[in-house]
């Protein structure tokens, strides 16, 4: 099996194909996660900062997670497909599904991150004369970054893995190797595709982890964020704070 995968990956004839599909896959993943982030992160910040709409977050996240990806994809393809021209007909439905998938972890991560900021830190900021927006941008967001990143990372992983299913609806990307391999029972091609997806997911996660390390203040990542924070997570046993320790997988 491993030999087959290696030889398939090494075959010169496959190289251009692999590079093209890899590029497409990264493109879809970044586009979908990017759009989702533009929606989820500001929304999560607003909700976390104002404390309003918490109920909505829990329910929307839970609801979105419960939508089976395959069903949603087929539904949107049949619904939107006839009204779209060009390659958009293949891209847009899949993109919508991936965005729906990426929003809940980022929304919950951002919300929980802001919500769990030590009230003392918030009070101290106010005491220093900061206005609401200053408190948000100078204190709450920096403190919430680890959880925001954790939401981003789980969103990326899910999107990278799930984008493969979109190949059943005519999308490109690494999923093509799985679907095309499946239709002719070419195991090496499928296995190689699966390995490429996993490797890509890992590589993207590493890159984001490095960015996270550069961006997040050491005062937060330092020794303080160990036992005490985990204890805090445990004691607030609602479903939101759990997004900090678990990553959904819907691929």
């Amino acid at each position: 099996m491993i030999n087959d995968i290696v030889s398939w990956l090494g075959e010169a004839a496959n190289r251009d194909d692999i590079i093209q599909r890899l590029g497409e896959h990264v493109g879809y993943a970044l586009l979908a996660t990017g759009i989702a982030a533009l929606i989820a992160i500001p929304a999560g910040m607003w909700i976390g900062h104002t404390g309003r709409g918490r109920f909505a977050v829990v329910n929307i996240s839970g609801f979105a997670r419960a939508i089976p990806t395959l069903g949603l994809l087929y539904f949107i393809v049949l619904w939107l497909g006839p009204n779209l021209s060009g390659d958009l007909a293949f891209l847009l439905p899949s993109l919508i599904v991936l965005i729906v998938l990426a929003i809940p972890p980022m929304l919950a991560g951002t919300y929980a991150g802001i919500d769990e900021v030590d009230p003392a830190a918030r009070d101290a900021a106010r005491g220093m004369g900061m206005r609401g927006s200053q408190v948000l941008f100078k204190v709450e967001i920096p403190c919430a970054l680890p959880l925001i990143f954790s939401g981003l990372r789980s969103a990326l992983l899910q999107v990278v893995a799930t984008a493969t299913i979109a190949a059943t609806a005519g999308l490109g990307g690494l999923g093509r190797f799985l679907i095309d391999g499946l239709s002719v029972r070419d195991y090496p091609q499928m296995a190689a595709g699966a390995v490429l997806v996993a490797a890509l997911a890992l590589a993207i996660d590493l890159v984001v982890a490095v960015i996270q390390r550069l961006v997040v203040s050491r005062g937060i990542t330092g020794r303080h964020r160990t036992r005490r924070d985990r204890a805090a997570v445990r004691s607030t046993d609602d479903s939101l704070s759990t997004t900090t320790v678990t990553v959904g997988t819907v691929n």
């Binding site: 497909g81 390659d87 007909a89 095309d180 499946l182 239709s183 002719v184």
Partner: protein, 309 residues
């Protein structure tokens, strides 16, 4: 004290989980019973499978219904996938019977297949089948692969046969099921036989909504659909002629595991094949695909009318 109660609850929960897990291996599950019955080798239920397109599922239901009417225990496994998936499923005993098409099946087992008319294909197929499999009588109903274009495209390039595509193929994107990319009866064969090199091949689905949609909306200019597909007349598509008989005869035929065949089964299935012709099949497919009736109901109605049910 509270903790000991918690232990008790967790332990019993775990025990329950363990029991459930064991149960799943022991045959107490809702899934095991039918699957096991189907895999019991000779005797037991006949498991009828189908490919991943509506006509195949409809034929599966027709076969299953005809067998049931003769008192055979049947189980159905629809939507298994393409030939490259359901034939191995047939060979490993996951299924016993599947509706097939003579020409493509012949090409699947015999890379050197060259027969093109109905009788020759059937004879060639019988010789090519592995020892464990056999086909029963073929029906008159035919459902061939076709290269289909829209009326507008046909007019624009004055296309009436696949051969007419040769000078313009470089501007044309072809859509079809993913397996067409490598299958001899797909893109490679079209190149060899008609000298067609398309601008691009787009992997879609096996004559399903993706392909129809893409052809209608112009994402592809030519597509692989099946000749019985009701979407062809419904959308005014043009199925191009095949002067070189690249697509061999495709009579509907039951492919079955040899060890499962007995007189009752072959009589029942041969009776079905005798009653099926292309127009009838196309009409039944239309009821499923366009009128959205259940394949099973359409199959039952057909069997009743043919006094086979």
């Amino acid at each position: 004290m509270k903790h000991s109660k918690a232990i008790l609850v967790s332990v019993s929960a775990l025990a329950l989980a363990g029991l459930t897990a064991c149960g799943s291996g022991g045959g107490g599950s809702p899934l095991d019973a039918p699957t096991k019955a189907g895999s019991a080798g000779s005797g037991g239920a006949v498991v009828v499978g189908s490919a991943n397109f509506p006509e195949s599922e409809l034929l599966m239901d027709i076969y299953a219904g005809a067998l049931k009417a003769k008192g055979v225990t049947v189980e159905t496994k629809p939507n298994i996938g393409s030939r490259e998936t359901y034939i191995p499923a047939l060979q490993d005993g996951s299924i016993d019977l599947v509706p097939e098409y003579t020409g493509v099946l012949d090409q699947y087992f015999n890379k050197a297949a060259k027969a093109s008319d109905s009788e020759a294909v059937y004879a060639e197929l019988k010789a090519a089948l592995p020892a464990t499999l056999t086909v029963l009588d073929k029906s008159a109903a035919e459902d061939k692969d076709a290269v289909v274009v829209t009326k507008e495209t046909a007019a624009k390039y004055s296309l009436s046969s696949i051969a007419d595509l040769a000078p313009v193929a470089k501007d044309i994107v072809l859509g079809g099921p993913p397996e067409w990319k490598t299958r001899e009866s797909g893109v490679p064969g079209l190149k060899k036989v008609y000298g067609l090199t398309f601008k691009e091949f787009k992997a879609l689905d096996a004559g399903g909504p993706l392909t129809v949609q893409a052809l209608k909306n112009g994402q592809v200019q030519a597509a692989n659909l099946f000749t019985t597909d009701p979407n062809i007349p419904a959308n005014g598509f043009v199925a191009l002629e095949d002067p070189k008989s690249f697509f061999a005869a495709q009579n509907v035929v039951p492919l079955i595991t040899k060890s499962k065949v007995n007189d009752t089964i072959s009589a029942a299935l041969n009776a079905v094949s005798a009653k099926l012709d292309t127009a009838t099949l196309a009409g039944l497919v239309k009821e499923v695909v366009i009128d959205k009736k259940d394949a099973e109901d359409v199959a039952d109605a057909f069997l009743k009318k043919a006094s086979l049910g």
